[in-house]
Subunit: 565 residues, 2 copies
């Protein structure tokens, strides 16, 4: 049996390790800068691929990522699996029942948000194919249809993430956007699947019966989303009842995804379409357990997806194929048609003007889906490298601006995250103080600079509050606090006391961890939210022991973040 | 860039889906019969490989699993990744500190359990290489060293599982066995790694400097287990503090495993040795969180490991290469030398005779490790297919008998599992009764046959107990019960009442789920254990709502099992 040689295995693991490491580091960095992880992951591939490393050290580049032979096949195998699993997860996130519940408005936004960009995309590509670098050997109709689809796609995962960050996911506005995006996603992929089948690259080999392939594609989607969905819903309790938990459910999902992928590829549309449909069918069942969803999601989001997105950068030279004119053209057409379509759809569904604009910017983000679509078209020879690069940049820019633009339109209350407020400067591992009054003085000195106040003022205000009602909440934690007039954002100081300090807690225990919390006076809710989150963290009594054992701020932060879910 | 064709992708997903599906189904079946899952997983490969499918339908077999070309490389890539990740998990399970805590006895058992089989294995192979089908082209010294190592290996995962099943994992006996197995595992793999390097198949290419490679191997193990372990322990809090949780930790583990694998393969020992060492180093850190461990473990145990073990059956014809004489020879030498060595070691460490025998049978199980070792030797051309088949059978038989033999020697109390006691015959979805007395009568009729008693007797005994103190435990659950003289094993009947029945619960709620529990009189603890586990399950108030919504026994069982962890 043909197999990898020891040399191939060295390359396989080495390149995989490097690719994953850089993708994850840059992905984390992007997220720290409040940007989507995919930005960093793509950048990792661009750095390791022909664009940068291939220029600086071409030999090392082709040693790490040979373009021919078993190693190329091995990497292609892994990215093929990775993208199928990524689409499985994307499918699981699609909740068809949301669309039904949300009703007409979502469908109106989704419909108008597809139709207008589709017409614009088709029109410009048909009238001026040269402007988009139409490859002479590609069919003009297929090229135009592709550009039409590319303009009308929407990235559900990016949208969901942005809405969650803004605390809008469960709001009416959020539900309109999500249901529209689901409708859009599903329609877009079916259109693209039909398009792929039109290219006649099907292993069925029957180039004549394009009509048959279109019928098969629609039949596949129809059957998986109705009969398949029903069968999966019926089968899941059996899987849970008679197999190891949660391993049984996990394998069940992956087996179906693999078989769905094989079937879709065999029909002549891409494998990932099958995995996506299976994901939708599985995710729709109320029987699917959260735990299984989390395991698949974590493994795919943090291992497979970074490898896949980084591998894109290995395939294309983003420097030589960068064409500013093309990028701007694609960007303008994509944004204007999508915004116009979605906003018109929202107004049609009686959404207020300001909210309609927010819906428009949300729907405008293309994210990973556009990139995957572009890659498939590139591999099929429908588009040039330059157009692919322009589509990737458009996908990134539309995703990057969607959150900020929505914030600009809606001006929501800023969301706080506890771990963003904890910093090493506001942390004291060993409090010297031994009384309540002294602790408050010591910690007031710690935090006063960050709050832009005199230590005496902080101390006096906190002590005043403390005297009114002591702030020991039990389990070894105290939360002295004050609401400060004119404070721009909340400040939290953390102090740990070895000996413990009496904060008059209901359980009579001494406080070993003291959070001194200053919040803006005009946002009274925030004080309560912070206190509630801290109390939740320390509900488990072991938390206190863990904190006592920390030796540095990093240890402490690790503990606070890792206990977050 | 060379890539998979659409046809290759169809085959890849189809073969992967079929392989995983059959491996998981047979693996689950094996576990239902209280056998290790690997038995079923191997069988899946044997059925789909040359042994069975290749005989019945050779064309379909070579269509699904082509032995040449991109598809063969693709499958090889996946199994290479799979076995590396399996060894990462095996390494994470190794807890070095156990060995230090347990001290001398474990090391004595481990040492004697290696030395004796090693000497026996080497001796017989050296004196009668033909009996073991020594391939003429293979070096006799290397062949003998391999057989010596193969005889002395021990499978920590199998042992850990068996001990857990017998509730002995945390006992003194269990700790001796586990620490001996860890010592044995680590030594065995280092010896084997050196052996692989002796074969001079290193990509370093320097065939002359065998000594150098041995030094590098030992240095790799030494550095990863000391400096690497320390660095990982220091780095984990940073990873937890500054990356997404738990994705950051997950990627961190896999990146290190990939790089470790590349390094080991580059030195000239197998990649999996590097992944194993990295696993040991990571698993040893107290900072590694349970959640990360679980995600890796689930994904590997239920996706990658089944694919890997099934793929073994694809490589070898287990029928034509089955040689009864060789199987018996390997089995006798392996069992006798390992049992003798381990028992002598245990006696040396002052373990009582009966326990020493139990230690011997525990250490005798070879499981997955032996199979992986054999596969590497087969691929390196050190051993013949017949010897490989004999080793696989020996590994399976020693693993299968270790649990039963330990039970025979130790005669432990039988372990009960709640979900094994729940059956559809003892389940009533709609109780007719509306009073406590009537419910007990109705459920006594349900369970009496299973207990081998008259319904009236069950009813009278349970009611007597119920009158003494009512058994409503709150949250809508009641646990009427009785201890029955001469009952061989516990019987649990389940009844669900729509209207609810007053069982005088502390929270004054009506009971909707009634478990009628009969336990043997001579095992008073079991009644309490069952009651405690049921109470734990229903502590979450949503559990009652879920139960009310079930429509069949399967739904109910799914709920009870899936809430188990």
């Amino acid at each position: 049996m043909e197999s990898l040689t020891p040399h191939d295995i060295v390359i396989l693991f080495f390149s995989l390790g490097i690719l994953l490491a850089l993708a994850r580091v840059l992905g984390e960095l992007a997220q720290h800068l409040h940007q989507p992880a995919i930005l960093g992951e793509l950048l990792a591939g661009i750095l390791l691929g022909p664009t940068v490393l291939g220029n600086i050290a071409p030999q090392f580049n082709s040693f790490l990522f040979p373009s021919q032979g078993p190693c190329a096949i091995a990497l292609d195998t892994i990215t093929t699996l990775a993208v199928a699993l990524f689409l499985l997860v994307a499918g699981i996130e699609v909740d068809l029942s949301t669309v039904w519940r949300q009703g007409q408005t979502g469908i109106k936004v989704g419909l108008a948000g597809i139709v207008l960009p589709f017409i614009c995309g088709f029109g410009v590509a048909w009238l001026a194919p040269q402007s988009f670098g139409h490859p002479p050997e590609a069919d003009k109709l297929i090229f135009s249809l592709f550009l039409a689809t590319a303009m009308s796609i929407t990235a559900l995962p990016v949208i969901a993430k942005t809405l969650m960050d803004m605390d809008l996911y469960r709001s009416d506005l959020g539900m309109v956007v999500v249901s529209a995006a689901i409708f859009n996603d599903l329609t877009g992929w079916i259109v693209f699947a039909v398009l792929l089948s039109l290219m006649g690259k099907s292993p069925l080999g029957n180039h004549n019966s394009i009509a048959l392939i279109i019928v098969l594609t629609l039949a596949l989607a129809g059957i998986i989303l109705t009969l398949g969905r029903w069968l999966i819903h019926k089968a899941l309790p059996f899987v849970q009842a008679y197999t190891r938990w949660p391993g049984g459910e996990l394998s069940f999902a992956l087996i179906l995804a693999f078989l769905g992928a094989a079937l879709a590829e065999w029909i002549g549309i891409h494998a990932i379409f099958g995995a996506f449909l299976v994901g939708v069918a599985i995710g729709d069942s109320a029987h699917l357990r959260e735990r299984t969803r989390v395991i698949i999601d974590q493994f795919v989001s943090f291992i497979f997806a970074p490898v896949f997105f980084a591998s894109i950068g290995l395939k294309v030279n983003f420097f030589t194929h960068f064409n500013l004119w093309l990028v701007l053209l694609v960007l303008v057409i994509a944004c204007s048609s999508k915004l116009a379509g979605s906003i018109l759809g929202a107004r049609w569904g009686a959404v207020p003007v300001r909210d309609a604009w927010a819906v428009g910017f949300a729907m405008n983000s293309r994210g990973a889906m556009e990139i995957i679509l572009g890659l498939l078209a590139l591999q099929a020879g429908i588009i040039t490298h330059s157009l692919f690069v322009a589509l990737v940049i458009m996908a990134l820019i539309t995703s990057l601006i969607s959150g900020p633009m929505m914030r600009l339109v809606l001006r929501p209350a800023k969301r706080w995250r506890l771990h963003d407020m904890l910093t090493s400067k506001l942390f004291s591992r060993q409090l010297q103080a031994i009384s309540r009054r002294e602790v408050i003085r010591e910690m007031a000195e710690l935090v006063s600079a960050a709050a832009g106040l005199e230590p005496q003022i902080v101390e006096a205000t906190v002590w005043e509050r403390e005297e009114a009602l002591s702030t020991g909440i039990g389990n070894g934690v105290a939360l002295p606090h004050a609401r400060i007039d004119g404070l721009r954002q909340s400040v939290i100081g953390v102090g740990i006391s070895e000996s413990g300090i009496d904060f008059d807690a209901p359980d009579d225990k001494l406080a070993h961890v003291i959070f001194l919390i200053l919040t803006p006076k005009d946002d009274p809710g925030q004080q309560l939210d912070i206190a509630a989150e801290l109390a939740r963290k320390f509900r488990d009594q072991r938390m206190l022991d863990h904190v006592k054992r920390t030796r540095s701020f990093t240890d402490f932060l690790a503990l606070m973040r890792a206990s977050m879910h």
